[in-house]
Symmetry: C2
Subunit: 166 residues, 2 copies
């Protein structure tokens, strides 16, 4: 599942016109461009680094807090294509690193310490990595679809993806 | 956007183990396998046929009601791979048919008659086609992620994609 996300986002987004790539849902919501940057930051600082910390330090060391806004500075001036390439490379590297860890079934029950939740297992971290990818595929899909919230006219009543008018 | 959906679903689903492909969210909810069959049925009976009906008959003829359950019989005994192939072929054919219609801007305001909504424009039909694809990408993503609803442990609180416990 984790190996698929770069290709999924590539199929959805690469070479899409800028007004789609930078579209968001108002206020502080994220565009598809922002989401790809966020996923890159996760590869660098979150998933494999936390897995290593669980194996090396257990509950003795609390994970670094994940910076949910890091992509705004890191992605500035970049193109979506270069971010998609970087995400694909970073994800492939993460999966190679994970393979090198040679996890056995019993390792999955080893625990680390989350800054908000306290004890969490490696199994929970890995399941969350998968669900987190899919959460952002949903966010990208919903953001794109909501650009047509008015254009669909009465069909809006049938489309769960489009926010219902308040 | 319409040309991208087959590749998006292919990246997400092809060769995924059966327990993911047939996973659903309980009750009458649809699996990824069911969704691909539904999208094929839409290519055959809904989008381009309705566009043609608008251009040929206008509001004089009401669209056929779309059969939301047709895929259960049509997909029986099929493999996901063959459905993904069929969807890609059917979508490519739909887009060729659409190009042949040679739509001009003024055609987009032409109207047909929806069995529930009454008058709808060709512009609304085409926007709905795009949003409908994305709605089902969301459904597939959410269905997959929800298989890990318990596995993610306390991270559930951060994952909008996973239904919150009742």
């Amino acid at each position: 599942m984790l190996a698929r996300t770069p290709a999924t986002l590539d199929a959805m987004l690469r070479d899409l016109p800028d007004h789609w790539v930078s579209a968001h849902e108002g206020g502080d919501t994220w565009s598809p461009f922002d989401v790809v940057g966020h996923l890159i930051h996760g590869e660098r600082t979150d998933w494999v680094p936390r897995a290593r910390m669980i194996l090396e330090d257990g509950e003795a060391r609390t994970f670094e807090t994940f910076d949910r806004l890091a992509q705004f500075a890191a992605s500035e001036g970049r193109t979506l294509s270069s971010l998609l390439d970087e995400f694909a490379e970073a994800r492939a590297a993460s999966l190679r690193d994970l393979a090198v860890l040679g996890l056995a079934e019993r390792d999955l029950d080893r625990r680390g310490r989350h800054p908000a939740f306290g004890p969490v297992t490696l199994r929970q971290l890995l399941a969350t990595w998968v669900a987190h990818d899919l959460d952002h595929v949903v966010q990208v899909s919903r953001t794109l679809a909501n650009q047509y919230a008015d254009a669909v006219g009465p069909w809006r009543a049938y489309l769960r993806i489009i926010g219902q008018p308040g």
